[in-house]
């Protein structure tokens, strides 16, 4: 019997299923690009994605294609975690703050001793802790992510408080820790090897590799099947022998580790760590996930959808700047698009349920 993942505990036949929801997201992406192309031709006399001014050897405006992905790659890494948490039927509000505290702590172990021949003016530790090999800050960063994630997971799985509350607590606590770490001072001037991590298109490569990895994991491993199963029907999953609590800890830990990776890439790309870093990233990540067709009620969605959702975000940001749209309108339009996506998601769900 061929079965796809279920909706609200119901399992339905693959043959009855209409086209994959990712297609809807893809069409939305194309539609938005077309709108920007049309407006660009009308208002700017320029093409949005094509090399209309003949500045490159290719037919596309390479620079714009790159920035569209680059500017969403870091939040995209977080969104890969949010996707798994939301498919599990949970929510994670903490990754933005985890980014903040991880960036601060990690950058402290990645500093150079000398800047322009003078002692590093932003030094956190003494000279013995400077110019360390890059593996040290990387491990420190991953440990930060694991600690935050395990705490989130244990709270949710074993104290049974709602994920919203548990991760809200982590969001506030981790932000506090980020401010406390250096008493609010920014931490700058990393070693060359640390700085290399986030330079150029590296954030995009890291995002792409992680996206493919987790796409495969969710689709083809027991881990993935359990994640969908618990999100569809937790009770049934428990009855059928899935270790629900343990699995939850694992998923929340993976989400926080992804946030920690985002923190490393972000602080390296910017050559600085600041206590306010990553503020509100969790909401952008959740928005990308939802736009990508992941259902907030759990059990449904995919990494591919989230990647497409992040691309929609990137296209919108670049499109606004391309049109020289007044800064005040940009956030308003972004908000409308997020709500529109959820409305669409509800509509899709109802139609899918009606088909059964």
């Amino acid at each position: 019997m061929s079965q796809s993942h279920g909706i609200g505990g119901l399992v339905f036949d693959e043959k009855k299923k209409a086209r994959a929801p990712e297609w809807n997201v893809f069409f939305a992406l194309i539609l938005i690009v077309v709108v920007f192309e049309a407006l660009g031709a009308m208002l700017q006399g320029q093409s949005f994605l094509f090399d209309s001014a003949d500045r490159f050897d290719t037919i596309f405006n390479e620079q714009r294609l790159k920035i569209i992905i680059l500017q969403v790659a870091i939040i995209g890494i977080i969104a890969l975690g949010s996707t798994q948490v939301i498919i599990l039927g949970g929510i994670d509000l903490s990754p933005g703050s985890v980014v903040g505290v991880t960036a601060m702590i990690t950058m402290s172990f990645a500093q150079v001793a000398e800047v322009n021949g003078l002692a590093n003016p932003k030094a956190v530790f003494g000279p013995a802790w400077m110019d360390l090999p890059v593996i040290v800050p990387l491990l420190v960063g991953l440990v930060c992510g694991i600690v935050a994630g395990v705490i989130n997971g244990l709270l949710i799985a074993y104290t049974r408080i709602p994920p919203f509350i548990a991760t809200l607590g982590m969001m506030v606590t981790a932000r506090g820790a980020a401010k406390w770490w250096s008493k609010g001072q920014p931490i700058s001037f990393p070693t060359d090897s640390y700085a290399a991590i986030g330079q150029g298109m590296n954030p995009v490569i890291i995002f792409a590799v992680l996206a493919i990895l987790f796409h495969l994991i969710l689709k083809y491993t027991v881990y993935g099947k359990h994640t969908y199963a618990i999100g569809s029907n937790e009770l049934a999953s428990r009855m059928s022998g899935i270790q629900v609590s343990r699995h939850k800890v694992l998923v929340y830990t993976i989400a926080s580790v992804l946030a920690a990776i985002a923190a490393i890439v972000l602080s390296s790309k910017n050559l600085t760590a600041q206590a306010g870093m990553g503020m509100m990233y969790e909401l952008d990540a959740i928005a990308m996930t939802v736009i990508g067709g992941v259902s907030l009620s759990g059990g449904r969605g995919s990494i591919l959808g989230t990647v497409l959702g992040s691309l929609i975000f990137g296209v919108i940001i670049s499109g606004f700047t391309f049109l020289k749209l007044d800064a005040y309108y940009q956030e308003m339009v972004k908000g409308v698009i997020i709500v529109g996506a959820v409305v669409l998601d509800q509509y899709r769900q109802q139609r899918a349920a009606a088909r059964m």
């Binding site: 320029q46 001014a53 500045r55 405006n61 620079q63 714009r64 790159k66 920035i67 680059l70 500017q71 870091i74 800047v115 322009n116 003078l118 003016p121 932003k122 932000r175 980020a178 401010k179 008493k183 609010g184 001072q185 920014p186 700058s188 001037f189 330079q199 150029g200 972000l266 790309k269 910017n270 050559l271 600085t272 600041q274 206590a275 306010g276 870093m277 940001i317 670049s318 700047t321 391309f322 020289k324 800064a327 005040y328």
Partner: protein
Amino acid sequence: MKKTLLAAGLTSLLATTAMAENIGVSMALFDDNFLTVLRNGMIEQAGAMDGVEIQVEDAQNDVAKQLDQINNFIASGVDAIIVNPVDTSATEAMTNAAASAGVPLVYVNRQPVNVDTMPDNQAFVASNEIESGTLETFEICKNLRAAGKGAGARAYLMMGELSNQAAVQRTKDVHDILGTDMCNFIEIIDEQTANWSRDQAQDLMTNWLSSGETFDALIANNDEMAIGAIQAMKAAGIDMASVQVGGVDATQDALAAMAGGDLDVTVFQNAAGQGAGALDAALKLAKGEDVDQKVYIPFELVTPANLANYTAKN
């Protein structure tokens, strides 16, 4: 004899307690680099004085929380309050709360909307925001002229958070300078916000670069955005000698960028000086002394020529 000694000891103890000044401080937010320097300037100044106790709280950018903190300070009987307002248009209630309790109040860094109607035991300590954007833009204008671009130059303008007075004022300063006869050869190609953030500035600059427009200058409302723009320009292989880049704040990162030849202009706002000035005013008001109601700590222009004087200041 023992009794006398004990009495003398007690009296001196009481005397010091009575002499200690308790100052309550409510900062708009802790995780802002500039405000952190200001806050630390205040704490250091208090630590260096005898008998000054200061208690600093974080209003976390929440107007209501800040008013609660002020009322809590009043309830615990502080001698004076220093407020770094979250929202400069929400200060009337704070002024009233402190005035009705007879507690002196000093606003620091951000100019309250009621600055001209405050009672005598309230004051405002800051730098005159009009100076920063003006100094920055005028220096860039002079540099562009010196580079032989006086016949016509094009610039991008990067703004801070639009709900923030400093961003609005600095942006207006830029336009005012570019409206003068000496500097009206500079044309603004586009102005957008990067919310004071280095990361957003990197992305915004790259988006601008993708349009392929030629430009001669980038004027940013603060250093973090200027640095982000520089990182994006360098990644795109732009020769930093051919572009004038200006910021405001003279942060350590900005001074390093200037030493590296990337940043051309920044403006030093004496954060620690403002913090110390606010504490000074608060202590004087607590003792019943007269204080100027508006105390201005001047902005200072920083260029590669005088860079060395500032490396130890922020």
